[in-house]
């Protein structure tokens, strides 16, 4: 049921930032009771480091979901691009430019394939991107059986350095987020993404070339995954064929996006909510880490938080006139 009303994207995001503040306060109290300190410099840096890669993927995923699609291939694409980056760099400073260009090209191409399969061959996004994910998995597993390539020290700045309490990786994330925000709220393409996601038929009738919009959204989504792959390569110092799937970036990025109040059906939501959603997951993670909660409890809590959050959003939208 798509509503033509373009919900103001600020709504859920505001709620979520409040929830985030609440969580930080609660976390601070809990950890203090446990005899520790929650917001040390290390944990603040940790929260950002932990969320940067997921954050960047989730921004891309937001674009795909807003356009009424979704992308399950990002996790494998991240592995692939981390390998492409590390292999081309091969430890040489001079190769960084080439490597970044190659990563962007490869990821854009994958996005293009995703988009064309969905729009041209009319395969549902779920299956299309799952299929592309399998294809990439096969290629990566066939060519690599362990970490490969080497990232030069100078490029590892991206993964390890920080300016005061803000890591470079978080700045990169912020940059991507601002760019996506600008795209969505200030450009025609952004408007079209909302329109196509809101109601594809109406968008088509009002003269939007819907296929092209969906393809572009997928290209941007994949490029974001490629950037995340670069970031992870710089963290690991090498490319790794399992870094994307180990991180569960596919389902986790979708979870972060909907946690951020973006409607899975498309057309409603925005980047701010996604940023808040990713931060919320990262703060939860850090809190669990500090309290040494085991990972099984973590899964249960995450599952409940995501469903409850979306249920709350659904209740809020229900209250409004449709």
């Amino acid at each position: 049921m798509h509503l033509l009303t373009r919900a103001r994207p600020r709504d859920p995001a505001q709620v979520l930032f409040l929830a985030l503040l609440g969580l930080v306060a609660a976390g601070w109290a809990l950890v203090a009771l446990d005899g520790g300190q929650f917001l040390t410099l290390e944990s603040v840096v940790g929260i950002q480091q932990r969320s940067a890669a997921l954050g960047i993927v989730a921004i891309g995923q937001t674009l795909a979901i807003l356009a009424g699609s979704l992308d399950l291939s990002v996790a494998y694409l991240i592995s692939l691009t981390s390998l492409v980056a590390a292999e081309i760099m091969a430890g040489q400073d001079g190769n960084i430019g080439q490597a970044v260009a190659a990563v962007l090209a490869v990821s854009a191409l994958v996005g293009l394939v995703n988009g064309l399969v969905i729009t041209g061959l009319r395969v549902h996004a779920f299956i299309a991107t799952l299929g592309v994910a399998l294809i990439i998995k096969g290629v990566v597993d066939h060519l690599y059986d362990g970490p490969a390539g080497a990232v030069p020290e100078s490029f590892q700045v991206l993964g390890y350095s920080r300016i005061g309490p803000v890591p470079v990786s978080a700045l990169l994330w912020a940059g991507v987020a601002v760019a996506a925000w600008f795209l969505l709220s200030r450009t025609r393409l952004g408007y079209r993404i909302y329109a196509v996601g809101g109601n594809e038929e109406v968008a088509r009738l009002s003269g939007i070339r819907t296929g092209r919009v969906i393809v572009l959204a997928h290209v941007l989504c994949s490029v974001c995954a490629g950037v995340a792959g670069l970031l992870l390569a710089s963290r690991l110092g090498a490319g790794a064929p399992t870094v994307g799937t180990d991180g569960g970036y596919d389902l986790e990025s979708i979870a972060a996006v909907v946690l951020g109040g973006t409607a899975l059906a498309g057309g409603k939501g925005g980047v701010a909510g996604t940023v808040a959603g990713v931060l919320l997951l990262a703060v939860l993670d850090t809190l669990f880490n500090q309290l040494e909660v085991n990972s099984f409890v973590k899964d249960v809590v995450r599952g409940v938080v995501i469903v409850v959050a979306v249920a709350v959003y659904a209740r809020r939208t229900q209250g409004r006139p449709a």
Binding site: R50, E87, V117, G120, V139, A238, A240, V243
Partner: protein
């Protein structure tokens, strides 16, 4: 239907272009592809194979370890002791542990054993452990976070070798670091603890088969995954042994560690070859499934190797199998705690702490079979004397 065909053609073209650009110029050799044929059918040697390590590990099997005989987790084979006086300090100590994951029974048994070991020592004031959940990136953050917690010593069980090296190197500058299970590509840790290793595991199993399977017999090799260093060494050692034998390796298959898939693969091979004369496995978790495939086909179970898990040992005894169980003992999870305390006490420790790696044979089966323990429990946990045994490990008091 012209349109679908055209669509498929377009798709195929897209995929093909995708594949070629994906391949970076300096692509690594694909390891051990099944296509290459040698007489023994074992394929090309793994790129992980290092002859010197292989020789060293095989030699270590017959060396007598130093240390108390009834406490193998304190023993070391041919230790080269190093001085640790620089790390000496007074307790109570704060020990920290960055764990790669606790996502399989082997790690769970080990983790419980380590926690119980910590409980034995009053001088440990605090023990902080973070679970990286199998994610390299998280473990890198975890190690950074632990350094800020004022640990007196840091224990690391790395998720992968190459990618964790920078994080461990950084940690070495602040605290004494102890690495165990999988290594890192730097010698900055004070000590690296491991059982003899994967080559010894793989060779133990393969040598057993060459002994028990009649000449020319067909052997099926089952592996979990390609590309995991600790598993690649097991297979590459077995390959060396099989290549020198007169056995015929009819297949090398990957099971993903999944019991159903293992059973299906073995059934397929039985069907295709009529008879399989031996089964080599790089890990024991799915050994029982492989055995059941023979039982369900109404065939006698050929010589096979498993690991020291109770379900396999039980099956071995009940069905009277010709079997062997090389081990990768979980008691190695006790050693890092002991090592940390020795280092902080200024005592000498081995630079590389090679723990003995016994194998369970038909003669010793009775010593390791513990019917009251859960089926996935590892017999060589060295945990029988620890407080909380057997309940904490899921067992029943007998």
């Amino acid at each position: 239907m012209p349109r679908p065909k055209a669509a498929i053609a377009v798709l195929a073209a897209l995929v093909l272009t995708g594949c070629t650009t994906d391949k970076p110029t300096a692509a690594t050799e694909p390891a051990a592809s099944a296509a290459s044929t040698q007489d023994s059918g074992t394929g090309a040697q793994s790129k992980f194979f290092v002859q010197a390590d292989f020789d060293a590990q095989l030699a270590m099997r017959s060396q007598t370890p130093e240390g108390p005989e009834d406490r193998p987790w304190e023993q070391a084979i041919a230790p080269k002791m190093i001085d640790t006086a620089q790390y000496k300090k007074d307790g109570p100590y704060h020990l920290c542990f960055s764990n790669a994951a606790i996502d399989n029974p082997w790690r769970q048994v080990g983790w419980k054993t380590m926690q119980a070991e910590v409980g034995l020592h009053e001088e440990i004031g605090k023990f902080t452990a973070l679970d990286a959940e199998g994610k390299d990136d998280k473990q890198i953050s975890d190690i950074a976070e632990l350094q800020a917690k004022g640990c007196d010593a840091l224990i690391v069980s790395p998720n992968t070798t190459a990618t964790l090296t920078p994080a461990v190197t950084a940690a070495c500058e602040k605290v004494p670091v102890i690495v165990f299970d999988r290594g890192v590509e730097t010698d900055c840790p004070v000590t690296f603890i491991k059982p003899i290793g994967g080559y010894a595991f793989g060779a133990d199993a393969a040598e057993f088969l060459t002994e028990k399977v009649p000449a020319g017999g067909k052997v099926l090799a089952l592996r979990i995954l390609p590309g995991v260093d600790v598993l690649e060494t097991r297979w590459s050692a077995a390959k060396v042994v099989f290549d020198q034998s007169d056995l015929q390796v009819v297949g090398v298959e990957f099971t993903d560690g999944d019991a159903a898939k293992t059973k299906n693969i073995v059934s397929d091979y039985i069907q295709r070859h009529g008879k399989i004369d031996g089964v080599w496995m790089d890990a024991g978790a799915t050994a029982v499934a492989a055995i059941e495939a023979f039982e369900d086909a109404g065939l006698p179970v050929p010589p096979i190797n498993g690991e020291d898990q109770q379900d396999f040992l039980q099956k071995w005894k009940d069905a009277g199998l010709t079997a062997v169980a090389p081990t990768y003992p979980t008691y190695q999870w006790r050693t890092p705690i002991i090592a940390a305390l020795r280092i902080l006490g200024g005592e000498q420790v081995p630079e590389t702490w090679n723990l003995p790696q016994p194998k369970v044979t038909g003669e010793t089966l009775g010593d390791y079979l513990q019917p009251d323990m859960p089926p996935l429990h590892y017999a060589l946990c060295g945990c029988e004397d620890l407080p909380g045994f057997p309940e904490a490990w899921g067992g029943k008091k007998s």
